[in-house]
């Protein structure tokens, strides 16, 4: 089975762009966190694609680390969202304009 490398890279690029658009145009902070997950996934596709192309496992190891860091990031991010909601009653990024209250 042969998958053209360029098509994998185009897929990764498209997913990354969708993630960036999501971060830029949405107000809901939870959707923004989801878009960041999409960006990390797009990077991961490239890692695995090149790992497969050069028959070298390093890319897949980096993929595992990438997923681990995504999990840590989302755990802390959602904890911040909950703490913020408890204090400010909002999940809208436009209304999050204070570092301290």
């Amino acid at each position: 089975m042969i998958i053209p490398q360029s098509h994998l890279m185009i897929l990764s690029l498209v997913l990354l762009t969708i993630g960036v658009v999501g971060v830029l145009i949405r107000r809901n902070v939870i959707i923004i966190l989801m878009s960041i997950e999409l960006i990390l996934n797009a990077a991961n596709i490239n890692f695995v694609a090149f790992s497969s192309k050069w028959q070298n496992l390093t890319g897949q190891i980096w993929g595992v680390f990438n997923i681990t860091i995504a999990a840590a990031e989302v755990a802390v991010g959602l904890a911040i969202v909950i703490a913020l909601f408890r204090n400010r009653e909002t999940v809208n990024v436009d209304e999050m304009n204070l570092m301290k209250w």
Binding site: L15, I18, I30, V48, L57, Q60, A83
Partner: protein, 166 residues
């Protein structure tokens, strides 16, 4: 007819559709469900590329863990439907310009890197799990331990942040 290639395009289309739907839905729960679609499609692409272990991790951690976490938080913060996408026209125009710029830059860069050779998924597919285990616990021992420490720190941080203030 190469069924692997057909499957790749199928999964790729599904992933892109899931992503677009995710960022355009008003209801955050719907977004989370479309996010699952994208994650599972990406997992399918991993298995086409011979990365069995990453396929399992993707399904377990992303589709299983992270999305459930998202759903819990969505239920917890009890969202009112956010009525519109984002702020003023200037904001949208600047976003569009910046995104096009980023896309163009990366496409140019990728165009220089991607030189012809197709990727083949043969030998790495055999005993991928065993090879990953050997690599993780021999060559990447230190990074592995550091990452586990990072997870511990993130867990403690999440608990501290999520705790109600005394």
């Amino acid at each position: 007819m190469d069924w692997g290639l057909v499957l790749f395009y199928f999964f790729a289309a599904l992933a892109v559709v899931g992503g677009v739907m995710m960022i355009t839905r008003k209801n955050a729960v719907h977004s989370a469900v479309y996010l699952v679609l994208t994650f599972v499609s990406v997992a399918g692409i991993y298995i086409l590329l011979g990365a069995d272990f990453l396929f399992a991790v993707q399904v377990l951690v992303y589709a299983g863990g992270i999305v459930v976490l998202f759903l819990f938080v969505i239920m917890l913060v009890n969202l009112e439907e956010s009525r519109r996408l984002s702020g003023g026209k200037l904001h949208l125009a600047a976003s569009a310009v910046l995104t096009c710029l980023l896309f163009g830059m990366l496409a140019t860069l990728f165009g220089r890197v991607a030189v012809g050779q197709p990727s083949v998924a043969a030998p790495l597919g055999e005993g991928n799990l065993q090879l990953m285990g050997i690599a993780l616990f021999r060559d990447y021992m230190l990074p592995f331990e550091v990452v586990s420490l990072l997870l511990l720190v993130a867990m403690i941080g999440a608990i501290v942040l999520g705790r109600p203030r005394a």
